[in-house]
């Protein structure tokens, strides 16, 4: 009997040697004369176990990890192909691993389970049921369903998705081509976030299906995925998925043999972080420099090529099919307060068990890091956690009882952003991190507005002076003043949120910026 073996081809698995492991297993299986079939999947999201190998048994999939190519012969000898559980690398049934079992996987239900490029697999796990239902509904009914689900944009701003779609549905087209557009923001540039990438590599059809449903909801027949160029492997998967979708009438002139059309285009960015900002991305899609636009007009009214445009994040769009399939009622029973549904939490940095954890909103930072992360990777005490990407606040342990939902995070001056948590142990120098935040902004600012373009450069210089103990006391005042200007005077989140990591570092980790009483030169170069 042929044994089915599942091995991820997610970028993270490839980076840790999954292709070499596949090769070694194929060779070893021939040597022992066992027929096997290797199915490449997305990643289960347990990064510390990658390359992770699963063997199908009558009881389910038994996992082994991390299986580097040098471990393969030993594992085969101890019965990996039979699902033998005695080897220390055996994790037992994947579905029973506590890290995995306790998750509430809605958006990521198929990721790591199916062959990402098999529409057959996709359909057998509930795919296309949402689209088929949407095809029987009116545009308004689709939008009402999304509104009722409580889904909010997962890109960071958390704007209610249904309301955005309603605005686009109600807006009138102005140009000659009479088009509205669906744009998927796949420019996942925030450090500490990788959920979009994992979803696109592990279940690309859910994104495509979500975009088609969005098209039906607002009356758009063209969609664009704007993918960052740092994800070449994702681009390959999406290109192939779009080709297959056209072949199977999931895209094209007659979606699922209906009278509805939807065309999808993949566009690759070119290494500009700012293009993750929606208006900058629209300029980039139009073939221009990725400069931030003044809002209003909102993209929903005047977006791509001047037409009404839905701009949504990958996770937002990929969640839509599931909501249509299982109903708004089902989705909105997860979560708390105004934060409904689940959050794809990305746990990374200095943590023993990094990976993707999809849970209903509401787990506390502390519980997440203890239960899932199992503390630091280095064994040292954790000291700071940055939440929500490079523009997110650094939180000290005294605030880790905060729960991970939009409202609770805002109440401690932080933001959830795209749901990424980056952990740092006690060797971190928070003044160095604050200086980096400003330098990053200086490197990536589009340059349109002064507080961001120049403020970031001055900010980095000022923090460097504080670290060198040059007029430390006065420069700390100056830094706060500069932060205030950036928050109030920048057009987009790049300039207005860069002060967030900086201020939180100063506020919660003041000792890293040095003792002001030690300051010998206060006032020396400030008054001039």
């Amino acid at each position: 009997m042929t044994t089915s073996i599942y091995i991820s081809q997610d970028s993270i698995s490839l980076a840790l040697g999954a292709d070499e492991t596949v090769q070694a297993i194929a060779t070893a299986a021939v040597k022992v004369g066992e027929p096997i079939r290797i199915i490449r999947t997305g990643s289960r999201g347990m990064a510390w176990l990658e390359p992770y190998v699963e063997v199908l048994t009558p009881n389910g999939r038994i996992g082994y990890g991390p299986v580097t190519e040098t471990m393969v012969d030993e594992l085969i000898d101890t019965g990996l192909l039979k699902g033998n559980t005695e080897h220390p690398l055996c994790q037992g049934l994947t579905e029973q691993i506590p890290y995995f079992k306790s998750q509430q996987r809605l958006t990521f239900a198929r990721v790591g389970v199916i062959d990402p490029l098999s529409i057959e697999h996709y359909e057998s796990e509930g795919g296309l049921q949402g689209l088929d239902r949407a095809l029987c509904l009116s545009a308004q009914q689709i939008i009402d369903e999304i509104k009722a689900s409580g889904l909010r944009g997962r890109g960071g701003a958390a704007f209610p998705t249904g309301i955005k779609w309603q605005t686009v549905l109600d807006a009138s087209v102005s140009g000659s081509d009479k088009n509205k557009y669906i744009v998927c923001n796949a420019d996942e540039g925030d450090s500490g976030t990788f959920a979009d990438r994992m979803l696109m590599e592990g279940d690309p059809f859910s994104l495509i299906e979500g975009m088609v449903i969005a098209g039906l909801g607002v009356g758009a027949t063209h969609g664009y995925i704007y993918l960052r160029s740092e994800y070449p492997h994702t681009a390959e998967v999406l290109t192939r998925a779009i080709e297959l979708a056209y072949q199977q009438q999931l895209l094209g002139e007659a979606i699922r043999a209906s009278a509805h059309a939807f065309h999808l285009h993949l566009r690759i960015g070119a290494g500009a972080y700012i293009c993750g900002e929606e208006t900058s991305m629209l300029d980039s899609l139009e073939g221009k420099r990725g400069m931030v636009r003044v809002k209003p007009p909102l993209p929903a009214i005047n977006g791509l090529f001047g037409e009404p445009t839905v701009v949504n994040n990958v996770i937002t769009l990929a969640t839509v099919p599931m909501i249509l399939q299982q109903g708004a009622e089902h989705y909105q029973q997860f979560g708390q307060g105004e934060s409904r549904g689940t959050l794809a939490i990305q746990l990374s940095g200095n943590v023993a068990q990094a990976g993707l954890v999809e849970l209903a909103f509401g787990i506390t930072i502390d519980e997440l890091v203890r239960t899932y992360g199992k503390g630091s990777a280095t064994g040292r005490p954790l000291r700071a956690i940055q939440i929500g990407g490079p523009l997110g606040a650094y939180l000290p342990s005294s605030l880790w009882q905060t729960s991970l939902d939009y409202e609770s995070m805002a109440s401690v001056g932080a933001m959830l952003g795209h749901g990424g948590l980056v952990c740092f142990d006690d060797t971190v120098d928070m003044a160095e991190q604050a200086e980096f935040s400003m330098r990053f902004c200086a490197a990536e600012s589009c340059g349109k507005c002064t507080p961001c373009r120049i403020g970031s450069v001055r900010g980095a210089e000022t923090i460097a002076k504080i670290r060198r103990n040059e007029s430390r006391k006065d420069n700390l005042v100056l830094l706060e003043d500069l932060c205030e200007t950036m928050v109030a005077g920048s057009l987009c989140a790049m300039g207005s949120l860069t002060p967030s990591p900086v201020r939180s570092a100063v506020q919660h980790f003041r000792q890293d910026f040095g003792d002001v009483n030690d300051d010998q030169m206060s006032g020396a170069d400030i008054d001039a």
Partner: protein, 154 residues
């Protein structure tokens, strides 16, 4: 290849994108994918095909750091310099690379381009790097050094 042949081919590529809405960026990618970079002397050719000014085309090329205006070195080393990698010793990798290659970040010699990249999406396997398009996670200094030494001997 003679310069005039290049201009013709560049122009051909551009023409296949002029009817694509927002086609300039995809055209620039296609040219870079064909030649490895965008030579400054092609700017006018591209501008003519898209009915833009050379300044506008230059403005787009210079905005995006993934678009290159000089011939790439033999090997591309991109090391992630963002927060998740910093938390796992990424700064030490940066120093090691600079020391070993004797070039600064975002500069190159004939053999190596040392590029800053802010996130490769491998934050759960930090620190990370990409060498000639291949991804590496949980990179140790030893692994970086042996990779660079192997490439230096090629």
């Amino acid at each position: 290849m003679k310069s005039v042949d290049c201009h013709e081919r560049v122009s051909e590529i551009c023409k296949s994108f002029v009817d694509t809405p927002g086609g300039l960026l995809p055209a620039l990618w296609a040219i870079q994918n064909a030649y490895g970079y965008l030579a400054p002397e092609w700017t006018q050719t591209i501008a003519d095909d898209f009915n833009l000014s050379a300044a506008e085309v230059y403005g787009v090329i210079s905005f995006y750091k993934a678009l290159k205006t000089c011939q790439p070195a033999k090997h591309q080393i991109a090391i992630c310099r963002a927060e998740a990698c910093q938390s796992m010793g990424g700064r030490n990798l940066e120093k090691t690379a600079v020391k070993c290659l004797s070039i600064e970040f975002d500069s190159s010699d004939r053999q190596f381009d040392l590029e800053s990249v802010y996130c490769l999406g491998l934050c759960a396997a930090a620190p990370a790097m990409m060498v000639d398009g291949r991804l590496y996670g949980r990179v140790t200094e030893q692994q970086l050094l042996s990779t660079l030494e192997r490439l230096q001997q090629e």
